[in-house]
């Protein structure tokens, strides 16, 4: 276990040159300055391969599916050269008590130093009974594992913000990792799923430089510093006022802006528009569909994926409510006018009475 990351490279038949190329490529992916590649190489050459525990709770395995498709660094590269993946119940061959025992042993040996990756929300309802593995609820399991972690990486919107299990009416009382663990550094890598290179890139960044700079949602600014809209190749069409009105009109065929079709790019922070998916092939907007805002909190409960961003989110009966308001206003207006009329009439009557009444006798007592 005292093997450095450079040692692991060499053991696997990779040269120091390959190691340096890996550092340069990863630094480039992270949009770091050229000097950072050298710093990364220096650090990783002496850094021991850290133990990584990957726990899955209320999730769909989409995040792990995504991570296995990372092309730079690849998941295999990461596992064989950079980290020591001690537990992941989907990828590992072992199962049952043997796997659990191996996990406990790995955690015991690296207690206080391992990286904990959590995938999925944590159900708190019914005493945590909605998600139980090896006789232990997810919430108890996470609390215990978090105590020995140097840092926690919450991958996917479910782990970072609650995601789909957290969506209304949230029947299992699901919460994000940050609501269960409050005394450990947490890096949120949100997305449904997150971009593979973002997940692996964050792991390598952490190994090289420690905690990355985070935004107020706890996400690394390197990947979540800009909105999809601001980096979108269709942005010029937004500025020109050219929009697709339906998914099969001329605007859609011409690749114009999808804002009108509900694209949430303007309020979604992620790297989809720059890193893209499947080795930089494409991303949802390039495929003709608006951004769902999947890396943002509560993205399921934002009033509808196809409702334009400025549209009202509430599903209230507009005609009835505003018609009622108009009727109510008219009734109050008539009432106010009637009140004013009665006052006018009273004033007019008083005025007429004063005009018609005989003038008071003047100085009747003076003689």
């Amino acid at each position: 276990m005292d093997e450095t990351i450079l040692d692991a490279f060499r053991k696997n038949g990779l040269s120091r040159r390959a190691f340096l190329k890996f550092c340069a490529a990863t630094a480039s992916l992270l949009a770091l300055p050229p000097a950072a590649a050298a710093a990364m190489a220096e650090k990783l050459a002496t850094t021991l391969r850290p133990t990584v525990i990957y726990l899955s709770y209320q999730e769909c395995t989409g995040c792990l599916e995504s991570m296995t498709r990372s092309f730079s660094p690849t998941i295999e590269h990461l596992m064989f050269n950079n980290i020591s993946l001690a537990f992941n119940d989907t990828l590992q061959a072992a199962a049952g008590e043997a796997a659990e025992a191996a996990r406990k042993e790995a955690m015991r040996k690296a207690w206080g130093k391992y990286i904990l990756i959590v995938d999925g929300a944590v159900p708190m309802g019914a005493g945590g009974a909605y998600c139980v593995a090896a006789g232990q609820s997810a919430v108890d399991d996470l609390r215990h594992a978090a105590q020995g972690a140097a840092a926690i990486i919450a991958v996917g919107t479910c782990a970072a913000f609650g995601g789909v299990p957290y969506a209304a009416p949230n029947p299992t009382g699901a919460v994000p990792v940050s609501e269960v663990v409050r005394d450990r550094p947490i890096i949120n890598v949100s997305g449904c799923p997150p971009i593979p290179e973002v997940m692996t890139g964050v792991v390598v960044y952490y190994l090289s430089f420690g905690m990355p700079a985070l935004d107020r949602q706890g996400r690394p600014l390197t990947f979540y510093g800009n909105t999809i809209h601001d980096r979108c190749y269709r942005r010029p069409f937004y500025d020109e006022g050219r929009f697709a009105h339906t998914f099969d009109d001329e605007g859609a065929r011409n690749g114009w802006c999808l804002y009108e079709l509900g694209c949430k790019g303007p309020v979604t922070y992620n790297a989809c528009a720059t890193l893209k998916w499947n080795q930089g092939t494409s991303f949802p907007i390039q495929s003709g569909h608006g951004c769902l805002g999947c890396s943002e909190p509560d993205f399921w409960d934002k009033g509808g994926f196809y409702r334009p961003l400025p549209a009202a989110t509430g599903h209230w009966p507009r005609g009835e409510v505003l018609g009622g308001a108009a009727l109510g206003g008219a009734v109050v207006g008539v009432g106010a006018a009637a009140l004013a009329r009665s006052r006018q009439q009273a004033a007019a009557a008083k005025s007429a009475k004063e005009v018609n009444s005989p003038p008071p006798k003047e100085d009747s007592h003076e003689h």
Binding site: Q217, P297, T313, A325, G328, A330, V332, A337
Partner: protein, 221 residues
Amino acid sequence: MSTETDLLDFARGPALEAALIILVFGMFWRLVGVLVLRRPRDLSEPRVRHAWLGGIRTIFTRMWPRREFRPRILHWEAVSYVFHFSLALVILGLLPHILLIRDITGLSWPGLPTGVITFAAGVALISLLALLAHRATHPVLRQISNFDDYFSWLLVFTPLLTGLMAYYHLGGRYEDLLAVHMLSAELLLAWLPFSKLAHTVLFLFSRGVTGTIYSRRGAQT
């Protein structure tokens, strides 16, 4: 889970609904209240056959100052027009605004490029500042101005400013500025019926009624 987008959700949801209800309720209250008011009967002989035509004419003739007043007020009238046209362009030309209007009313029309809108918003802001300076320094205007004038000015100025700030990401994250922009516009909508801003609707009726009365008496309107 509390997030920064809660404010935007509030602005797009309950706040928008409340603002629209107050706007519609208040406008009908004001309008019906004014139209149903008792007016003294005019016992004089009508000088024209259809006085209401004079009312309609007055709506348009009062859009430009009479020759006698032009040397003194024409430049400020022009600034006021620049402001009103720019504001109308911003409100009715920007696609997000059109989508909101479509969502509520079902009405829709093509939007304008954002460059045109941001330019118009800038012009509207500058003209608003000029009009405020004029109001604050003109001895007569200053005397007849009250809280309503200044607060209404602020409520028109703020959505314009925050809208531009949101577009250019100045002074905060987009979603925060967008939320502030929407909330300030919603406050404007709620305030509108109960303030001098009600002239957006009432000017037609006040000019029309005045013009009708004057026409009936044979006065030039």
